[in-house]
Amino acid sequence: MTESSTLQALPDRLELSAPASEEMLDLVHVLLEHLWQQHEEVPVAERMRVEMAVIEILANVIEHAFEVDAGRPAADERGDGRRFTITLGVTDAEVLIDLADNGEPAAIDLSRVTMPDEDAESGRGLALALASLTDLSFHSADGRNHWSMRCDLS
């Protein structure tokens, strides 16, 4: 089974589908708090790492995934609405999170992400998410961008 299909089969997974607006960041923080309430076995260090990664990736989706690209109207102007779906779950061995959006296909090469210099005021998001997680992957297909996050329980 792939990680995504493991996650989609977890009976106590949490799933939220919502408009891709900044106000949703707080809601996802609360969603994570509920995930930890259901799974008190997840150590606090891993909770922090997952929260960081999820919020970074979601903030990127909200900020970048719907930019008008090469003259094509952004998703919300096409009328289908800027939305994302996040799925969160915990197995015996790992925390799994999937995040999908219906924004413009993003050309992201995670293998080229590096941490910027200390005086940079931006550009740390993806590098921080990568550093926090055991595994982060991205692919774009069928008009949706998919992020898969995994944090192994130590």
Partner: protein, 111 residues
Amino acid sequence: MTEFHVDTTASGIGVVRPEGRLNMVAARQLKSVLADLVAGGTHRIVVDLADTSFIDSSGLGALIGGVKSTRQQGGDLRIARPTEAVLTVLDLTNLTKILRPRDTVDGAFDD
């Protein structure tokens, strides 16, 4: 909602205490709080992170921006009392040099 408590000490040091999470939305507010202080002539600023439960890259960006703008005026921005969550992020982003955590707000400008 993240709240920002702003004070000025007798020695003219600005103390900013964000309460809550420093994510994208709050980072924008922090940026303008810091810009207002610098514009008003306060060039030494301590950001008291004792009540900051979470920070992300945009929150870090706002702090780095404050370091740069205060130093341009001959001052500095220092952080004090970071929570475990904030320390972890500083470590992962290699920022513990430019944003070296101080133990107390009062002593943040002692060296």
